[in-house]
């Protein structure tokens, strides 16, 4: 029991050490490139915690990341690599906005309907690779990559030809489908923090519940680990693969809706990918595909990206540094073997010392 507890604790310590290493490496890079790391990090932290506005923006920024992280993790748990979160998010964004603009209904109906539309669109975008995988054994990685491009071009086409309002965007959605919140904005000095943040927390709980507390989750995990044994145990492997990709897509789609209904209240022509989907891969992996982990790593990501802006303004450090730090943190988490090894070295030398 104490052993189990110890290993659990250790599992928490590793990401922390990894983050420490990542920042340390960032400091070295700052030194080498002639910046003052202390100024840099002070600016970074002030850029996140220094003002309610920035903190609100950080939370706003992490909201879609939570969803894309959950999407990647959900598929991952079922043994699938969903690189298509980007595309699923894009169609979710567009579709939720489409419903937000075209439908008129009271908020109690309109908002859930718009969210649902986003989820369904994302689910459809996940369903296709899931189906192809189940039916023709087509590798999901290729199909999801292709679906990303299709999503972007199709959505741009629809906006450009049918919904263009000003510049590159659609009209604003009706207030009845908006997640924007005056309350949260006031609380955070006019940040774009919106109710979606709470939905994201709910989604974390939902994924945890789905995977660990439901019958379906049991099956999905089982299929993820061993398809053969699962089908011997009477589970429908193909159905579970399709389901997993669809649910994953739905998470991503809602992530898109967070942008469409919360942050921006419109959709716009995308000159290139949003990168939320690709960042989601990193968020999920850093969070060890667990709900709590994803929440925390989305915060780390959101915070680093938000703080990076202040870092360049206040300390003159290039925002790319943050990308390097993120890469190194992921590297150290992935290489927890190294940390364990150092730890066990320390332990044994302690023993010998006695």
């Amino acid at each position: 029991m104490t052993n189990a507890l110890k290993s659990k604790l250790f599992g928490l310590v590793i990401p922390l050490i990894a983050i420490g290493f990542g920042f340390l490496a960032g400091a070295v890079i700052m030194l080498v490139s002639g910046n003052n790391p202390i100024d840099g990090y002070v600016a970074l932290f002030q850029g996140v915690f220094g003002d309610a506005y920035y903190f609100g923006e950080t939370l706003q920024r992490m909201t879609p990341l939570i969803f894309s992280g959950l999407a990647v993790a959900f598929a991952f748990r079922t043994g699938l690599l969903n690189i298509g979160v980007e595309g699923q998010l894009i169609v979710g964004w567009f579709t939720s906005v489409f419903v937000g603009i075209t439908v008129e209904a009271p908020m109690a109906i309109h908002l859930p309907l718009s969210l649902l539309a986003g989820a369904l669109a994302g689910a459809l975008w996940g369903f296709v690779p899931g189906l192809l995988k189940a039916r023709f054994q087509v590798h999901e990685v290729i199909v999801t990559i292709m679906m990303n491009y299709i999503a972007m071009h199709v959505v741009n086409h629809f906006i450009r030809n049918f919904m263009l309002e000003s510049g590159q965007r659609t009209a604003f959605i009706h207030g009845s489908s908006s997640l924007s919140s005056d309350f949260l904005a006031d609380l955070t000095n006019f940040s774009r923090l919106h109710w979606g943040f709470l939905i994201a927390i709910g989604a974390c709980v939902l994924m945890w519940f789905l995977l660990w507390k439901t019958k379906k989750g049991f099956e999905l995990r089982s299929v993820g680990y061993n398809q053969h044994a699962s089908s011997y145990a009477g589970m429908n492997v193909n159905l579970n693969i399709i389901l997993s990709m669809s649910v994953s897509g739905a998470f991503a789609g809602i992530g898109g809706a967070m942008l469409g209904l919360g942050t921006y209240n419109y959709a716009n022509i995308l000159p290139s990918f949003t990168n939320y989907g690709f960042d989601g891969i990193a968020v999920a992996l850093l969070g060890a595909s667990s709900s709590v982990g994803i929440f925390l790593s989305a915060f780390l990501f959101g915070g680093l990206k938000e703080g990076a802006n202040n870092m360049q303004g206040q300390a003159g450090v290039a925002p790319e540094l943050v990308e390097i730090i993120i890469a190194l943190i992921i590297f150290f988490v992935a290489s927890s073997y190294l940390i364990r090894w150092i730890y066990s070295r320390l332990q044994s030398s302690k023993k010998e010392g006695k």
């Binding site: 940040s191 990168n275 202040n310 290039a318």
Partner: protein, 359 residues
């Protein structure tokens, strides 16, 4: 006008070139001629401050402003992606910046929101016009637009005078009203000179895919076009690559640059430069002027400023080694006609169709 690209390039001001300190500002906009305490800053779009396009140009204008008035404070913040616009504008507002520029029409909605939240501060948007819910201009936002269509008209004239195949091409980045201005003006210029010239138009739907740009150019040149104008950011790099390659092969092809005098940075190869000319857009002058006016207490809030041929807001580039005397004369002639209203340059597809019918 093609800074919409996803150029992730976000270099930084390491303080050396702009020598500014973060000074606490009391928030009062005292209009003093010496610039004491006045601050003018800008937020770049994702192109970054050195995008060889309008961000860079805007920063050049601010830098010059800072040099001419050593007591003013100038600075910029770069945006790594679209979600940075609002926080970055807010950041400037919060610092008490007297005049905050948003570079690029992508920041249209963000600047409106931020300006509403900080009614005591002055803002300026480059490349578009901000209107509130009632379709009215916003009091504390100055709108800086450019007559890209007019500039494009002139390079269209140059192209028409130079083509030997009577076939000219235009490559656009992502299709949008702004890029349509380039396209319409350019086509109008060409047709005005010679309505029989064939014009091929293609949008890459990407500001950053050089490979696509190269293939589009390849196909256009292959189909007989000999001059291609682009308004496509990084995608345009593919055009230059293709033009250089064909020139090296002995073909007589040309490319026309955009936003800045691109011949200075691109298009060079062993035996010359494939850039015939460029359509430049003087964002620097516009920014400088608005900053200076604001400092002097004449903030053009709630106004639409269009920088056109008149005030050299747009025009053809200084580098004209490859342009014939004749063409330059024609350009001057047409420029005068535009200025005196004889020619109304179209900005949209509809206007262009009318224009073409009228020829």
């Amino acid at each position: 006008g093609c800074g919409e690209g996803n150029d992730d390039t976000t270099p930084v001001n390491d303080g050396a070139d702009n020598g500014n300190e973060v000074t606490e500002n009391d928030g009062n906009n005292e209009a003093a001629g010496d610039g004491e305490g006045f601050s003018a800053k800008m937020v770049t779009d994702v192109g970054g401050v050195d995008d060889r396009s309008f961000n860079e140009s805007a920063w050049a204008g601010l830098t010059m402003f800072g040099e001419d008035y050593p007591d003013v404070e100038v600075d910029y913040i770069q945006s790594s992606d679209a979600s940075d616009y609002a926080p970055n504008l807010n950041r400037l507002a919060r610092e008490g910046t007297d005049l905050s520029f948003a570079i690029g029409f992508l920041m249209l909605d963000d600047i409106r929101t931020v300006a509403e939240q900080s009614p005591d501060q002055n803002f300026a948007l480059v490349d578009d016009v901000v209107r509130d819910e009632n379709d009215e201009l916003v009091e504390n936002i100055a709108n800086l637009t450019f007559a890209e269509h007019e500039g494009s008209f002139l390079v269209g004239v140059v192209a028409a005078m130079h083509t030997e195949t009577d076939h000219i091409g235009f490559i656009g980045g992502v299709e949008s009203p702004l890029i349509k201005k380039f396209e319409s003006g350019f086509k109008a210029g060409v047709k005005y000179v010679n309505p029989d010239i064939e014009i091929s138009v293609q949008y890459a739907q990407d500001f950053n895919d050089a490979s696509r740009g190269q293939q589009i150019a390849d196909t256009m040149y292959g189909n007989g076009a000999d001059i291609i104008y682009h308004a496509a950011g990084g995608t345009g790099n593919g055009l230059f690559t293709e033009a250089i390659d064909r020139a090296q092969n002995g073909e007589n092809v040309w490319a026309i640059g955009v936003d800045q005098d691109q011949a200075l940075t691109e298009g060079e190869w062993a035996e010359g430069n494939v850039i015939l000319t460029s359509m430049v857009k003087r964002v620097d002058q516009a920014v400088y002027q608005v900053a200076e006016d604001t400092m002097n207490g004449n903030f053009p809030g709630g106004e639409i400023l269009e920088f056109g041929l008149e005030d050299d807001g747009v025009g053809i580039a200084e580098t004209r080694d490859n342009v014939s005397e004749e063409a330059i004369e024609a350009v001057e002639e047409y420029e005068a006609m535009i200025l005196n209203g004889e020619i109304e340059v179209p900005q949209t597809d509809e206007e262009y169709d009318e224009f073409e019918d009228s020829l």
